[in-house]
Amino acid sequence: MSASGERPAAAIHDLGYKRYVGTRRPQSTRWRVIVKNVLATSWRGWWRMKIWMIGVLLTTVGIGIPMYILRHEVFRELQRQGLHLSWADALVPISFSFFTWTAFILATSIAAGQVARDLRASAFEFYFSRPVRPIDYVAGKVGGITVVMLFALAAGPVLLSLFRVGLSDDVDEVMTTLALVPRTALVGLLGALAYAVVPLALSALAPRPRVTVSLWVGYYFIFNGLAFALAHQLHMPWLGALRLPSAVMGLAFGLYGGYSPSGSEELPSVTASFIGLMAYIVVGLLLLHWRVRSAERAGMGGG
């Protein structure tokens, strides 16, 4: 230490170093560290996640109010089809059409550049020089983004379905509406997984976040729009399962009684929706794992 109190630039100082002798986290749980990191970085700044979470909250409240006001009103369109369903019931699956937009925005701001940013910053060398397998990396990223998507796609609908239980007039209705809560959670979970895996897989295709975000947005509007148009023009509703929001909506409406608020031919069946979502999830995971595995092998420099 110099007289002025400034340390020489090359001074070595280690705060009384002692070797760590405690236990280490099991290797099989390291992916959870990546989940926590994804959540922590996603939570930073207003525009990435917080503002959209407020949007989810406002949407939930915004749908909850008409649910309460219209709780005794029957959904007239369905009445014509011989179904007796109140607005309070119908608004839960309808709410997915709002929440899928929030999920799309979150996927764009958080997920669609996630792996590309790691590729650009050569972060794979950081990860894979440690006891981290490609499967840990994939599980960590998918887990973290899925948790974010659960806030967007499951939290609101599940709260609304619980609110619907609270609006019940008798025990029988409570039992009937209570059965809808796990169904809503299942739709939210599958939707969240699909909205996490697809943009993550696309984000692994190039080391430039702008490119991968563009790919995701292009896929969402162009490919999804094409699938929707084809399903409508060819009268083949199952093709609509290739459109991510339609697959979520189809599953949601199917699990709530197999109807659609504006014509059954626009939405795919429960089976087609389930297969569509599962296909997206499985193909996305395989693509992501393949890309990460390749990058792991190649990512340690040449020479």
């Binding site: 290797q27 970085t41 060398e125 950081f126 040449g302």
Partner: protein
């Protein structure tokens, strides 16, 4: 110093790795130990492939063990005990240096509190105390190199792989980095494998050297052994550089040496390069000096610089190649 650092840190038994028709490692066998080991070789020599194999990142033929652990079966245990400082910038966007090092510690199995404490300590050690709360992506090259060193240290490794740690640094920053590296074995008890193209760095801080060329290990030994590529005992070296002061004619000393069977090459103004005859001891030089009335002011074995030694090892191989 850890126990492992005292013995063989790395054991290689006919390790081979090919990428298509290219033999990145062509049957490497060695038992490598030491405090600071320089890993040298021209581009494409197989250094990075060797590091990948040692970290268990790429499958290979033959057996390799690091700290006594098999790279084929125990690569994750190896990576828990080994630190790696990559050549390229390698960070996570949006993270500060503290967050990056804490994350690195947690990924290596440390509990969060311990990882955070050690992240601060490692960054402090690397001289980043004031800047550790800034995002790494905004750092200068020198600071990024320091963060890379800190993240490699945070989980308490017994062995550190440093890939070109002084790349892109100005002379002062390079000195500081080398000072940190050379201090690590004593302060932190870890051995170091330093992969670099900068021979002066190796000369300055390494005690052992591995030279690779064309996927083969061409040399492993101390720096002194590399310079002569033979025994270290100076008394056995046959060539000496002698500085003299003469009262009379300068050629008299050279003539006396030649008469004694030496071959002499003058290096003006007052130096001679003398090759002793087979089996002769350096005492012959003093006898010849007394005979010629010369005073020997300075005498040292004529050794190659590390650059010359490196080129000799690598160049000999190239000449031998068809």
């Amino acid at each position: 110093m850890s126990e492992a650092a005292d013995g063989a840190l790395i054991e290689l038994d006919d390790v081979k790795k090919s990428y298509g028709s290219v033999h990145a490692l062509a049957g490497v066998t060695a038992s490598i130990g030491g405090r600071i080991i320089g890993l040298l070789g021209p581009n494409g020599a197989g250094k990075s492939t060797l590091l990948k194999c040692l970290l268990g990142l790429v499958p290979h033929r033959g057996n390799a063990r690091v700290l006594g652990l098999s790279t084929a079966q125990e690569s994750f245990r190896i990576r828990d005990r080994v630190g790696y400082m990559p050549e390229r910038d390698s960070y996570l966007a949006d993270l500060t240096a503290v967050e990056l090092c804490t994350f690195a510690g947690e990924l290596s199995g440390l509990p969060r509190t311990e990882a955070m404490q050690r992240a601060h300590a490692a960054l402090y050690y690397a001289g980043l105390e004031e800047k550790r709360y800034l995002k790494v992506e905004g750092y200068s090259t020198g600071l990024k190199q320091r963060v890379k060193l800190a993240q490699a240290l945070v989980h308490d490794p017994e062995l550190l792989f440093l890939d070109e740690p002084t790349n892109g640094l100005d002379p002062r920053a390079r000195d500081e980095m080398l000072e940190l590296i050379v201090d690590l074995p004593d302060r932190r008890g870890c051995a170091i494998v330093l992969s670099t193209h900068l021979l002066p760095d190796v000369d300055r801080i390494c005690d052992n050297v591995v030279i690779m060329n064309g996927g083969k290990l061409e040399f492993f030994g101390t720096i002194e052994e590399l310079r002569r590529d033979g025994p270290v005992d100076a008394a056995l070296l046959p060539v000496y550089e002698v500085e003299i002061r003469m009262g009379g004619e300068e050629g008299a000393f050279a003539a006396a040496l030649e008469q004694a069977g030496c071959s002499v090459e003058p290096k003006p103004p007052r130096k001679l390069l003398v090759k002793l005859p087979d089996g002769a001891a350096p005492m012959l030089l003093f006898r010849a000096a007394r005979q010629a009335g010369a005073q020997i002011r300075h005498l040292e074995p004529d050794r190659d610089s590390i650059e010359e030694a490196f080129l000799r090892v690598v160049g000999a191989k190239k000449k031998a190649a068809p």
